[in-house]
């Protein structure tokens, strides 16, 4: 167990953080809104943590205090939330393809700005971000509670009036509006919550990755998140979490399979270097054959019944 943790420490933390990020795409999608803005807020949160920890707080001897990381997460969450509100109120009058396009543009603009500002370190970015822990696996102390809290939050949300209003908006916006659900209010709420969460994840990731630049939180991240949610499942919060965990581990698993001697050399090489090809094909196949993802509420109910049955 200890050697497993030591070998895969970086991967395990990445999996947990990816699962939280997948939830940030899932939140607006609960209301039927495909927004790929969360990589932008993720990048913003990372920059806030990187700037605060390298410029504002003086580097002391020993490890960087965890309390300051928590403070950075809070600041990142608040700033992302405010920006989310500012972008969300006008943008969420759009729907469908138009919202997806607007959020793609938002991520692109943030990327260019980050690449050119002095405070974000330009093309090089910010490096040498101080470490609050002595080993990578200890980042679990931040990542796991973040995942658990956000899962509890979304699970709870799905059963409240607000959550049901979001689902009603997804099924039929006009009908929901006719029944007194305010579409803009609920969509902005989901969008802003997603921004807050993405900002907090970014703050943790900046410390975890140790360096932060304009290649973090780009359109590539948007594609990954869509894969997590759409392959995992877009109708229950369990889907994105499982999608984020499994699909982040998939490249490593493929690398592991490639190491088995039985495979012909060309196949092993393909599994090692062609993982993004496999990723793309999975997204395409997933949407064609499993439009609601692999994990659906129906599947969870069946599993629940089987678990409850004696014997």
């Amino acid at each position: 167990m200890a050697s497993f943790l030591a070998t895969y420490d970086f991967l395990l933390v990445s999996m947990v953080l990816a699962a939280v990020l997948a939830l940030t795409l899932y939140l607006p999608l609960m209301a039927g809104q495909l927004s790929v803005a969360s990589p932008g807020f993720y990048a913003l949160g990372g920059y806030i943590a990187a700037i605060m920890s390298t410029r504002i707080f003086p580097p002391g001897p020993g490890l960087y205090p965890v309390s300051l990381v928590l403070l950075e997460m809070a600041v990142a969450a608040v700033v992302s939330g405010v920006l989310g509100l500012a972008v969300g109120v006008p943008a969420l009058r759009l729907r469908g393809i138009f919202l997806a396009l607007a959020t793609i543009a938002f991520v692109q603009i943030l990327g260019v700005v980050a690449l050119n500002l002095d405070v974000t370190g330009g093309a090089i970015g910010i490096f040498g971000i101080p470490q609050p822990f002595s080993s990578a696996i200890q980042y679990m102390w931040l990542a796991v509670p973040l995942l658990v809290v956000s899962m509890l939050f979304v699970a709870r949300l799905e059963r409240t009036r607000t959550g049901r209003a979001l689902v009603a908006l997804r099924e039929d916006e006009l009908a929901a509006a006719a029944m007194g659900i305010n579409p803009t209010y609920h969509k902005v709420l989901a969008f802003t919550t997603s921004a807050v969460l993405a900002g907090a994840v970014g703050a943790v990731s900046a410390h975890f990755i140790n360096t932060w630049n304009s290649r973090q939180g780009t359109f590539d991240t948007s594609v990954n998140l869509m894969a997590f949610v759409l392959v995992g499942g877009s109708r229950t919060f369990v889907g994105p979490v499982v999608g984020g965990l499994v699909l982040t581990a998939l490249p490593e698993a493929l690398r592991g399979i490639a190491g088995v001697d039985v495979l012909p050399a060309w196949l092993a090489a393909f599994l090692r270097d062609g993982r993004l090809i496999i990723f793309g094909i999975l997204i395409a196949i997933g949407t064609v054959f499993f439009p609601h993802g692999l994990i659906t509420p129906g599947l969870l109910r069946r599993l629940g019944r089987r678990g409850a049955r004696p014997g």
Binding site: Q108, V112, V223, I283, G286
Partner: protein
């Protein structure tokens, strides 16, 4: 800002804008028929650029499965451009069969089709990278022997237009004229417009809609391939991912012109080309953000695009 400078920037803007326009027409044609955005368009742009490179008989670099490989023959550049664009058109056919037809058959949500086409785009770009590596390529210069720029001004106040700009503007205009002719003066064009207007009715009237949708993907892929080669000729082929970046920029063009609107795509392309050309020199680093800033503003102010009509939602 004096007149020579103004003229120079207008010419620069028109040259690049004309390429944006024909690239965006590839999106627009498919959107006008299927009401979906084909995210593979950027990947097809990449495929066209690489296919042309291969057909000129040039060698592939050091990374990738086909490192050091080259075709046993070399075509003159014009034929390579044509051949590369035909390869891109075939890629369009494959994309339609694999990513779009299965979803259309079960009447899937347009957003799902968008995501599926994104998946295919990621796969295509990475297949290109897997085969040919990630290094940049540039074409063997087909304009050798010609002056590198033409002076449209006087010796004292030069207005220099690079020969390659003249070429890409010329090819774009030829494409535009051919497409306008096809759409407005042929029976096929009439059928295409009918399918764009109402697929069910035109199918009832005996139009083979599946065949026309396939044709749309062929034309769109061909346009994507031509643009990939033209941009490759102008600034070089900067690795497989440059199609994705260019593809995102193309989205700004179609939104500006109004989704699915053919004259709108042309106007949108020219506006974005001109807007980029007029970014002041001290803010040049922000030029890449200009199309997206325009996209964002237009979506908020006039989601139907500059030339489009507002859509009334039917219940």
């Amino acid at each position: 800002m004096n007149r020579t400078f103004l003229l120079q920037q207008v010419l620069n803007g028109l040259a690049i804008g004309s390429v944006y326009a024909i690239f965006a027409l590839g999106y627009t044609l498919i959107f006008s028929v299927l009401r979906i955005i084909n995210f593979t368009h950027g990947a097809i742009f990449t495929i066209g650029a690489y296919a042309t490179y291969a057909l000129t008989g040039s060698q592939f670099g050091i990374n990738g499965l086909l490192a050091g490989a080259a075709l046993p023959f070399r075509l003159p550049f014009v034929l390579a451009l044509l051949g590369g664009s035909i390869v891109a058109a075939l890629a369009g056919v494959i994309v339609e069969r694999l990513a779009f037809r299965p979803l259309r058959a079960r009447g899937a949500d347009p957003l799902l089709t968008l995501v599926s086409s994104l998946g295919v785009a990621v796969a295509l770009v990475n297949i290109t990278q897997y085969l040919f590596g990630a290094e940049p390529y540039s074409y063997p210069d087909p304009l050798q022997g010609l002056p590198s720029a033409v002076n449209f001004g006087t010796a004292a106040a030069p207005v220099l237009v690079r020969t390659v700009q003249v070429v890409i503007f010329g090819v774009s205009m030829v494409m535009l004229v051919l497409l306008t002719y096809l759409m407005n003066a042929t029976r096929t064009g009439k059928a295409l417009r009918a399918v764009a207007e109402d697929m069910t009715t035109s199918s009832l009237l005996g139009i083979d809609t599946d065949r026309l949708i396939l044709l749309t993907f062929v034309i769109s892929g061909f346009l994507g391939g031509v643009t990939g080669t033209l941009i490759g000729l102008s600034v070089g082929v900067a690795g497989p991912y440059f199609g994705i970046a260019f593809g995102l920029k193309g989205l700004a063009v179609i939104v500006l012109g109004g989704l699915g609107d053919i004259p709108g795509a042309v106007v949108g392309g020219l506006i974005i080309g001109l807007a980029e050309a007029f970014v002041p020199a001290q803010y040049i680093a922000y030029r890449e953000a200009v199309p997206f800033a325009l996209l964002f503003v237009v979506l908020l102010v006039r989601p139907q695009g500059l030339l489009g009509r507002a859509q009334v939602q039917k219940v």
